[in-house]
């Protein structure tokens, strides 16, 4: 998806992202729908990436992304520029996800389920650590993206909010309406499963 320079206007083309965002926000607040479309074009991938990690499937991620931008349009007048626009949009996406999460009766069960029966393999843990130590590469990031999608909903949500988005565990707990202990349990589960998945990739040869 590309930005049409003719529509974004020469002023924003040459500006660094924060300044360009500020110009587009100012225009959008005045009601310029084209400016808001440019905001969408610039931030859709970031917002959709977050929504995809939270929702776990592309259909729900698309719906969540759309909701996020509709809410953003309605709230744009309240954006004061204290945070980068991308982070502000991310916050809207997270809040929207929280609203959906809290109305889903299964969600609390997902958080309670910490996967006590998940397999744990010490050898796998060693291999996974080696895999990550030697990787540090784009491939590892791509792997991680795919693995996050395979996590159970509770572990995935907590991992994405805490490790990817950087929310403190206490804030994740407040967002999801559960105790911090539950968040810690889900984090532990997410790491354990990810470690097993990294080992499964077979990209690190493990010879016991």
């Amino acid at each position: 998806m590309t930005v049409d320079p003719a529509r974004s206007g020469p002023a924003t083309d040459r500006l660094p992202q924060p300044a360009a965002d500020a110009v587009l926000v100012a225009r959008a607040v005045e009601g310029d729908r084209d400016a808001f479309e440019q905001i969408y074009r610039r931030h859709a991938a970031r917002v959709h990436g977050l929504c995809l990690r939270l929702a776990g499937d592309s259909e729900r991620a698309e719906g969540l992304t759309q909701d996020t931008f509709v809410k953003a349009w309605l709230a744009l007048g309240g954006y004061g520029g204290q945070a980068p626009l991308g982070a502000w949009l991310g916050r809207i996406a997270v809040n929207r996800w929280r609203d959906l999460w809290r109305t889903d009766k299964r969600a609390q069960q997902w958080l309670v389920d910490t996967g006590g029966e998940d397999t744990w393999d010490q050898a796998a843990a060693v291999a996974a650590a080696g895999r990550l130590e030697s990787a540090g590469s784009l491939l590892a990031v791509v792997d991680l993206e795919r693995m996050i999608a395979r996590l159970p909903a509770g572990a995935r949500t907590v991992f994405v909010l805490h490790e990817v988005e950087g929310y403190p565990q206490a804030e994740v707990a407040a967002l999801l309406g559960v105790s911090e202990g539950t968040i810690k349990s889900q984090m532990h589960r997410a790491r354990r499963l990810l470690r097993a998945m990294f080992t499964e990739t077979g990209m690190v040869r493990h010879e016991a």
Partner: protein, 173 residues
């Protein structure tokens, strides 16, 4: 690559967690493009949620032109009413009187002044309506109003022509 099982598993655990955190944080700014362009759906949602913005500007413009158009229509109705009443069934007699009046005091008679005011208001309204139509080309109400005003303006011009004042205004038809 050969790994010895660690004497202290937590050492590897810490290494793994640290690396995992770094990779996860790197994902934060890593976008994932949607499989399709979501903007058309978002724009439709903005329209249906009554969101503010350009659409609101259009509504504001619409309110403006609606007010002007209504004012023009009222004026036009008054003007047409006067004109329709004045010639009446004896139009053949009334018209020469009007022509005489115009000849004596061009553009000053009560009938021509009313018609001129009506035409002026109609022209203003048409200008606003056409500007609004450029912004909202698919607005059915706007299109209907433009057609109505055009039609009414044509009637007014025909009546003016009968009253001998058409040349004073020229303009569109």
């Amino acid at each position: 690559m050969k790994h010895d099982l660690p004497r202290d598993p937590s050492a590897h655990d810490d290494a793994f967690v640290g690396r995992l955190s770094a990779l996860a944080a790197a994902l934060r700014e890593d976008g994932v493009e949607p499989a399709r362009d979501l903007w058309p759906d978002i724009e439709r949602a903005l329209d249906t949620t009554g969101a503010t913005g350009r659409r609101a500007t259009r509504y504001k413009a619409a309110r403006t032109w609606t007010g002007a158009a209504l004012a023009a229509t009222v004026l036009l109705a008054i003007g047409l009413g006067v004109a329709d009443l004045r010639p009446g069934p004896d139009a053949r007699h009334a018209i020469p009187v009007a022509r005489d009046t115009t000849t004596l005091q061009p553009g000053v008679s009560a009938g021509s002044a009313t018609a001129r005011q009506g035409l002026h208001a109609v022209d203003q309204a048409l200008n606003e309506l056409q500007a609004a139509l450029r912004q909202s080309p698919n607005d059915p109400d706007l299109s209907r109003l433009v057609m109505l005003i055009h039609h009414s303006r044509g009637r007014l011009l025909r009546l003016q022509a009968e009253g001998g004042v058409r040349d004073a205004h020229g303009g569109r038809s």
